[in-house]
Assembly symmetry: C2
Homo-oligomer: 353 residues x 2
DNA sequence: TATTATTATCGAAACGTTTCGACATCCATT
DNA sequence: AATGGATGTCGAAACGTTTCGATAATAATA
């Protein structure tokens, strides 16, 4: 445990000044090839590595990226944002950054609800996943830190963001059902105030009318308070209580789709024969439930990785430009959807009323 | 964006020296109640918060905990260690630490394979999950950093660790099968060189002989190279190729149990009627596969949380004592196991040969 | 009463970098 | 021959804390 070498030791060994060594380390400024070589050699021989703390103090830079998630999104069970987070962890490695995670409540008051890494100036930029209090975002903005939103957008303000293609995804989902012959297609929305859910809802409506299908409001549920499994169950029950019965439903996310399937099973229905269900997100369990869920695949880890790449770019750049990245989505057809068969639906429908 | 206040501003405002303010902030040393109050007030009025970097430089402390994971364990698909990691992230918040994640390969050579946070003195302690190269562990030890192992143990060396109760779990699993009347119980081991898997294997053998059941080596597979889904499929195939057929198997983890079930389905078997399967870990998907898997539940997030608690204790303590925490496990009975029925097994057995 | 502990505060020296301005050299331009 | 822009190196001043030893006052002990 002999003391570790400092930049001073390197300078001495190379017969140069501190500043020159620093220039080599950060390769900034002018350094002749021979000098650089001498420094590199000294560094190598001493096994020198700069101290993060000293560096941070002098350069006002931390080498960290903050990741902010709302508490409700970060139940450990929530697989969606967790995947995004893990995606950032991976990509951060490639850029020599570390990720500092924090969760925040829906309320925001200074300074109690300010993430510690902001107060301590311990991050060079911030990734925000999902919806968080706008005042917090504004606060970070005022700090002059680059901000990157993932799966969220602040109305009337422009921040860089990674978005998934919600419209495309919803179109793929609904058109898949239509191509299977379905016409009475329900929509299970959950918390429609979230921008992503709202986009999916819009696209669903567009897609229906584009195909000359009537929008039956009785088949649409947007008043659920959340987008969890139980909201999916509730939503299907709501529709049935209205005395109608879709032959297929598009759920705003997989969790709700799963809830919907559970509820359908309670009624003794066979899936997909009695009702086709398509979700959105493609979370892990979706592939393993019975029947495996047809859904829109979202590249969650990729979104996290893209977030880091984009943010790092912003951190390093002198100019603060706004960029939006749209991640593609894919339709994954599994076993929860099938061709519309008027008969089956009709018979079962009879047994419902 | 006026400059943020420093400790100097606080001292000035309170009419005290820097050092006194520092004493208050860290509440160390002697400070009179009135002085403390004055400082606190000044801090509040200025909205002061100490800078992590400056603090780190002066105190040789980072406020971070390193989390090291072997690369093979950290495919994003690997749900087990991922959960442990997320558990640490949560608990770290409660102790005002941040987690710095890194993955390492199986080889270790200085300095190329030394995690960056170690070189940069950017962590106050290290959590190591699963098996990593022993030389790396020794290296960290030499650095004088507290180490905490999760689900791993270095032979002949003592490090603090969080262990799950592998023996108990295996006993619960095997006794469950025995209580259902099974006698020809196979074991799918995978990579037996991992301490946890080895323990489960030992306990399986003990449990069998304790109940006067013969250990049939043809029903035991320990030569698979890994513990992934495909290893489970392979293992069952291996057993069948030996011309025998267990009525139940205990797989060393859920991934292999799932592979085993998949393979059984390929043979047209019904589960649990034609073969009972019990796993270990209780990963998320286990509850959702068909049939839902009977398994040993491991409290993964809790292990991560315990790891942080224990490590933080070690970081703060002056003495370096070794502690081992054993996390309990639970048997979760779902649908992949059922009572032994000699008939069913016999008939199907006939159709195999 | 003299001596020693305890309590309270302070000044100054680290901690290990980056960065800015100064200076010197060299080469190309006028 | 004088001027000026690149190029290369350096010294010194930050950056914002903690911590150590010194000093002083007060309380406890002999």
């Amino acid at each position: 445990m002999g003391k570790r070498p400092t930049i001073r030791d390197v300078a001495q060994k190379a017969g140069l000044s501190l500043s020159t060594v620093s220039l080599v380390i950060n390769d900034s400024g002018y350094v002749s090839p021979e000098t650089r070589e001498k420094v590199l050699q000294a560094i190598d021989e001493l096994g020198y590595h700069p101290s993060r703390a000293a560096r941070g103090l002098a350069s006002k830079t931390s080498g960290n990226i903050g990741f902010i998630l709302s508490e409700d999104h970060f139940s450990l069970a929530e697989p969606f944002y967790t995947k995004i987070f893990l995606g950032t962890e991976f990509e951060a490695r490639n850029h020599n950054y570390y990720i500092l995670l924090t969760t925040v409540g829906s309320r925001f008051r200074e300074p109690d609800n300010v993430p510690r890494f902001l107060l301590e100036r311990n991050v060079d930029g911030v990734i925000i996943a999902g919806r968080v209090n706008e005042k917090l975002i504004a606060y970070i903005d005022r700090l002059g830190l680059p901000i990157l939103l993932v799966d969220y957008a602040v109305p009337k303000k422009h921040y860089s963001s990674i978005q998934m293609d919600n419209r495309k995804g919803a179109h793929l989902a609904v058109e898949h059902l239509i191509s299977l012959g379905h016409r009475e297609i329900g929509f299970l929305g959950g918390d429609i105030s979230h921008p992503s859910i709202a986009e999916r809802y819009q696209a669903y409506k567009e897609c229906m009318t584009d195909h000359n299908l009537t929008l039956d409001s009785r088949l649409i549920v947007t008043e659920e308070s959340g987008t969890a499994v139980e909201n999916g169950s509730n939503a299907l029950r709501t529709i049935l209580n209205r005395g109608v019965r879709p032959s297929a439903v598009f759920a705003a996310n997989d969790a709700m789709a799963i809830g919907c399937i559970q509820e359908a099973k309670v009624h003794g229905w066979k899936i997909p024969d009695d009702i086709s269900v398509v979700g959105f997100d493609d979370i892990d369990t979706s592939a393993h439930i019975e029947p495996p869920l047809t859904t829109i695949k979202v590249f969650k880890e990729e979104m996290g990785a893209a977030a880091v790449r984009t943010l790092v770019q912003a951190v390093k750049a002198e100019t603060r430009s706004v960029m939006t990245v749209h991640m593609p989505v894919e339709l994954v057809v599994r076993k929860s959807t099938t061709r519309y068969s008027g008969n089956a639906a009709a018979t079962t429908r009879a047994s419902v009323g």
